[in-house]
Symmetry: C2
Subunit: 311 residues, 2 copies
């Protein structure tokens, strides 16, 4: 892994992604006491940064592999991202989803022509089903976060941010499955000589926080958090990167997540999902430590059911 | 009124406003069958285009007038806009508001240091109170929409849009008090040789539509619309401009407004208020007439109570 690879990845995925805007707010700068630059992946195609990693994962396959399709298990943004990226590249996407996944999420995948295969709602059932699809179709399995091509793809968001604002002292990213923060950490390492990467994580799903303490991948006994994109845990591809290059993980309470989300909605007039708000909540909670710094915050996505809000 | 004046106005208000971004959405283009360019005044300072007109109105005063302050009657975005513009210029702002105005609106004005003067909730009471404030303080009355300086200020939004996209065939604007659409019509006249301006208006407050038919200013017997910014009626300064230069007014139903608003929220991940959605609803309703055209839509503001949504 090196800087040149990340540049190549960026060039390769460019036709399939938006170069998302970076927004600022005077009011938020005043409130935080720092210069905050929001990288708006909520404006990304299909509404989240996941499009970057999904596009790169498919582009990394051989023509023969592509002809047999790709398969993943996800009921969230990666399901939509892989479906859309595959559609744009003329590749078949199989999406393993729990039977009880919300209809709105199933519909989103169908919009992008992903083929849904239902399974029972537990981690073993979904892995077995994904393996079965692989066996039957020859499709390549692509993990939503624990995959080098996915990690590199996700890193292009922070790369764009640092190209536009090379003097950032910190970048805040949410931590879920670890793909985004690992990619962000690599981008910071390659494109800055001093920018530190900080993770925001829900206290109620603080596996990454605990993993950094114990030095091995911890899991969550329960994941009672509104940040539904962050209920997953780390993997053997991204954890070593996180362990080596992530400066700190800050945990936030559920009410802090909702407050940060509402604050962004009301003040910036943009829609972000709860998982996105976690990184900003972590900054808000510890703002006294970041006075007068230049801070990037990755707003990871904007896919939220507007008829069912937490405020 | 001429092109040079509008350019001067723009230069004058620039330090007090954002040059708001223009956003597009492939999905919306496909759905409408045209190229749609959204001018995002929801990202304007204080959350609405009104900042432009308010800033220009105060900047048009003499130093002596400024020293005595400004007064308006509004419980909506103009109250906030005049307060903020006045604050930034070191001018006192008196805001006449009905006693029963929502606390959230009063608080917004207080945030910008406007001084609220309460009155009974009817048009006569508020005009009397504004006159009283004028008499007592010497403050200059500034009407939210029926004022040349305000109209010119509002026109700078469409001017920026046409500078960026000179080939627009149409610009859609909501119609409320008439300041925005009159300014937009002047900008189209000065900065394009073919761009037509179309108003979107709630069927339940269709005074402008009826005024264009009768040739005189009509009022609404009732204003039972969710588009709270559009419950006002036209005035003698803006109506002649609208009559002369606005191509058409399209009326929309309440459910069409809510649907258009939700659509923008979900697809573009930005927050717009119901009044903003009216212009886009008018386009959606009549999309077959605008096939393959280049269309600007002014998203006028994003001030909405996220705890109290119509969906």
């Amino acid at each position: 892994m090196n800087k040149e690879t990340l540049i190549e990845v960026h060039n390769r995925v460019k036709p399939y992604i938006h170069k998302t805007p970076v927004l600022t707010s005077e009011l938020i700068n005043e409130m935080v006491g720092a210069q905050v630059y929001f990288k708006c992946e909520n404006f990304q195609k299909m509404g989240a940064f996941k499009m970057r990693g999904a596009a790169n994962a498919i582009l990394s396959l051989s023509n023969e592999e592509r002809s047999k399709g790709v398969v993943t298990h996800s009921s969230g943004n990666f399901a939509q991202a892989l479906s859309l990226a595959a559609k744009k590249m003329g590749v078949k996407a199989y999406i393993v989803m729990p039977k009880n996944a919300p209809q709105v999420k199933k519909n989103a995948v169908k919009t992008y022509q992903g083929e849904i295969i239902e399974c029972d709602s537990n981690p073993i059932a979904r892995e077995e089903m994904a393996a079965e699809v692989q066996k039957e179709t020859g499709a390549t399995f692509i993990h939503p976060s624990n995959d080098d091509a996915v990690i590199y793809g996700q890193g292009t968001a922070a790369m764009e941010l640092l190209e536009a604002y090379p003097d950032l002292d910190y970048i805040f990213s949410p931590v879920g499955g670890g793909g985004l923060i690992a990619g962000t950490a690599l981008a910071a390492k390659y494109f800055s000589n001093h920018c530190k990467v900080i993770g925001g994580e829900p206290k109620n799903a603080d596996d990454a926080y605990r993993s950094l303490i114990s030095g091995k991948i911890e899991v969550n006994d329960q994941v009672n958090t509104i940040a539904d994109g962050l209920r997953t845990f780390l993997g053997d591809r991204n954890f070593p990167i996180i362990k080596k290059y992530v400066h700190q993980i800050i945990r936030v309470e559920e009410d802090e997540i909702v407050e940060a989300m509402k604050f962004i909605w009301e003040r910036m007039k943009i829609i972000i999902e709860p998982s996105s708000a976690v990184a900003f909540a972590a900054l808000l909670k510890n703002k006294s430590e970041f006075k007068n710094k230049n801070i990037g915050v990755i707003l990871s996505g904007g896919n939220v059911d507007v008829e069912n809000l937490p405020f």
